[in-house]
Symmetry: C2
Amino acid sequence: MPFRNVKPEIRILAWDDGPFEHRNKGTVPMIGTVYRGGKLLDGILKIDVDIDGTDAEAKIISATNHTKHHGQVRVMMLDGITFGGFNTVNIKNISEKTGVPVIVVLRARPDFKKFKSAMAKLPHAEKRLACVEAAGPVYYVDLGKGRIVFQIAGIERDDAASIIRTSTVLGNVPEPLRAAHLIATGIVRGESIGRA
Amino acid sequence: MPFRNVKPEIRILAWDDGPFEHRNKGTVPMIGTVYRGGKLLDGILKIDVDIDGTDAEAKIISATNHTKHHGQVRVMMLDGITFGGFNTVNIKNISEKTGVPVIVVLRARPDFKKFKSAMAKLPHAEKRLACVEAAGPVYYVDLGKGRIVFQIAGIERDDAASIIRTSTVLGNVPEPLRAAHLIATGIVRGESIGRA
């Protein structure tokens, strides 16, 4: 569904994962922030996903569908399509199963060759590679002070670009994702390290 | 030291604790948010404190002195003087040992009689009661849409009132404390519940 216009207080649910020190068996926390545009924090969701596992997609879908904010959230932002290492998500599935369009925000164009060869060594390689295909083409939005790379599901390219512009206040990261990153890092390490 | 004026982007470190279901032995997380006024999240600190213990004060002091934000933070806000049940803090000590003035923000005037009688039953009762004394008199600031009750250490009453006004955007809770509450609740429960 195209957006008629992007309101400055559009509700955004943005997911990022926490760091992990050793690639042993275990989980990492993922934080979902519910923001009004780039302005106000409205809520926090938390899930735990397996390092290099395959449960992130189902857990994001379930948390999104069950939150009290579900009716207000107009768009989801993800920091890439892998969390807790290579726990890969299919953004077409997420968008279809939640009814919420998805924007994947990237710092740089992914090195697809490297990415795919790392995935080929893991269990469920085919499923992971299908996620890379499902994320579709890579687009760019120019913010004047730099650009943001993005991929989309369930939303038009121009609408996604406008939502990214509306919600980016500091540096080259939309505020909801910047906050999700600070929180996910802070709860693992005791102190957050910014990426903006 | 009096504040010459309160800048809209004054750096505030605000602490709140997460909920706990049962008053058994254990810890609760406390989240410190570093905010620019009521506007932007700059960082997250996390500590764990004992339920009904006595370690919150020392841990708040240590986390505040060791964060990379210490040089920028101009004032601390606390959601009351007890965390994780009755883990009571002395705000005079906190202010003196961190060099950061403290504003305790309350929803209502504390019921000192009830408060003191609950503390009298716990170990280290004298130390806890000294914290109640150290928090000093209760002041009020009128926000038009309601009032906030507060106590202070290391800061003038009028300066504290002006910082509360500057940093309150929604409801009757300064934004840095509102965010700390949402995050601390969200990481314990999986979803946050607002108090604004």
